[in-house]
């Protein structure tokens, strides 16, 4: 059974807040749902499916959120695989709709990561609660450190340079300058990135995503139902998800989850790499974007440095990505997967104003959760307005 074009994104809403000490996580989520339902032309009474997880939630957080909003959905999914979760939730919602388990599914995320002062990247990774953590936490792993080790190895094997990685941060900041709600909007240069302090070698401060508050929501429904709604539907063509880890000590660390999830999504969508007009690539760090693009097959392994250079990732470049400014400059409330799908949807609807990618018909979304240099997940979606 193919999932292609069975379900679509009918509503999308990004909460404009970047700092909300006056709001709770659930309040941000509820406000986001209201925005996404308004966008779709639906009401909360229409919702019969819910997907969510969050850094501020316990294991049964989704049930608590249903209590908060008095929801009793027919389908719930709280897959928790890090920042990519909401990309996977979108795929799961599409599958549930295609299987008849629900008809209108909301995917939602909210967080007060900044106002609650979460040290996400440098606070020490791994809670110590999982059996595998005992072989990592004694050595001081951080999220940024685990990504930095991928960058170090790639630079060694292929001569990738800090300047090339910095180009990614520069392009994201340019996009943020065109996004009125982005947190950091002043343009930066490659020299600015290299002059920022080293957090975990070889990654600098400006190679790292920001920490903000924020939230967002999506309304996923059947292609049939979407036809009568307010906005032009954005169809889900293909999906893929998987994980990577140390592989019992035998891993090739430059091969990441995106290699598998991307291959699955392309196969299932029946489209080619050359069909992709823009991409939303989780940018927890500059190296995340670089290595994800290689593993998705947009360039060969080792060629990522050249691929991201020369302004190619700009909204008006050969391969536009992260046109909202990404996690590097717009927002990163602990997890960012939901915003990848939201901005891809806005691009496919032609709603992006000055940062609109011309003639955007097909978009790829890839979320990474966890840390590339230890354990991580990857989830890929291919979306189209056709």
């Amino acid at each position: 059974m193919s999932l292609s074009r069975k379900a679509c994104v009918a509503g999308a809403y990004e909460h404009p807040t970047r700092f909300a000490p006056d709001k709770s996580m659930f309040q941000i989520m509820a406000e986001s749902i209201r925005g996404a339902l308004d966008d779709a032309g639906l009401t909360i009474k229409d919702v019969d499916g819910l997907c969510t997880t969050g850094i501020g939630m316990g294991g049964m957080g989704i049930v608590g959120f249903c209590d908060y909003l008095n929801l009793t959905p027919n389908f719930v999914d709280s897959t928790a695989i890090g920042g990519s979760s909401f990309v996977a939730h979108t795929a799961h919602a599409a599958a549930a709709i295609a299987a008849g388990l629900c008809e209108v599914c909301v995917v939602v995320y909210g967080s007060t990561a900044a106002s609650s002062r979460f040290a996400i990247g440098t606070g020490g990774a791994g809670g110590g609660g999982d059996p595998c953590d005992q072989f990592e936490i004694p050595y001081g792993p951080t999220t940024v450190g685990a990504y930095a080790m991928i960058a170090q190895r790639h630079m060694h094997d292929y001569g990738t340079t800090p300047e090339q990685l910095a180009e990614i941060a520069v392009a994201m900041r340019l996009h943020a300058s065109m996004n009125p709600v982005a947190k950091y909007r002043d343009p930066i240069t490659v020299e600015d990135v290299l002059a920022s302090r080293v957090i975990s070698s070889p990654l600098h401060l400006l190679d790292c995503c920001i920490i903000s508050d924020g939230g967002g929501a999506l309304v996923i429904t059947s292609a049939e139902r979407a036809r009568d709604l307010k906005k032009k539907p954005v169809y889900i063509l293909g999906t893929g998800e998987t994980v990577r880890h140390a592989a019992r000590g035998q891993r090739d660390f430059l091969e990441i989850a995106a290699a598998q999830s991307g291959r699955l999504a392309f196969e299932r969508a029946g489209v080619k790499h050359s069909d992709i007009d823009m991409a939303m690539i989780y940018d927890s760090f500059t190296i995340t974007v670089h290595t994800t693009l290689e593993n998705l097959g947009f360039c060969k392994r080792g060629e990522g440095g050249a691929f991201v250079s020369g302004g190619r990732l700009r909204f008006d470049g050969d391969f536009p990505i992260n046109t909202d400014g990404g996690g590097l400059s717009s927002n990163h409330p602990g997890m960012r997967g939901i915003f990848l799908v939201i901005e891809a949807t806005r691009q496919l609807r032609g709603e992006c104003g000055p940062r609109q990618v011309v003639d955007c018909k097909t978009a790829l979304v890839h979320g990474t959760g966890g840390a590339l240099g230890t354990r991580h997940s990857g989830a890929t979606l291919i979306l189209s307005n056709q």
Binding site: G124, I137, T142, G145, A148, G249, F253
Partner: protein
Amino acid sequence: MADQKEKKYAKPLPHVDEETRPWWEALQRHELYVQKCRDCGDVRYHPRAQCTSCLSPRTEWVRCSGRGKVYTFTATYQNQAPGFRESLPYIMAWVELDEGLKMLTNLVECRPEEVKIGMPVEVVYEDVTPEVTLAKFRPAR
């Protein structure tokens, strides 16, 4: 004396469980082991009760030479976690053991700028508390 040492050690300690206790106890004797499946021969690190290739519980402990080379590394300059924030910068690395398996660890007795990928390293045992010994690596002598 033991109490004093325990108090001073602020970094997180491993949550050792019954499945992994033999490996940690070997470290206390300053011995490093990986595992090998007695049925299919697949080798693995970190330790676990069954082979990930065939699920056989028949496991052989293989004593490591304690030598390897740096697969990749990072020098951490920012970490708010207690114990680490007082020891910045510190070097975290994946070391590829001579036995062919990669192990997350720290590099010690060297400065960040001296570390190179491929550099030969050797194990050094740090008795961080009376109960816990960690296997770290230093440039091979």
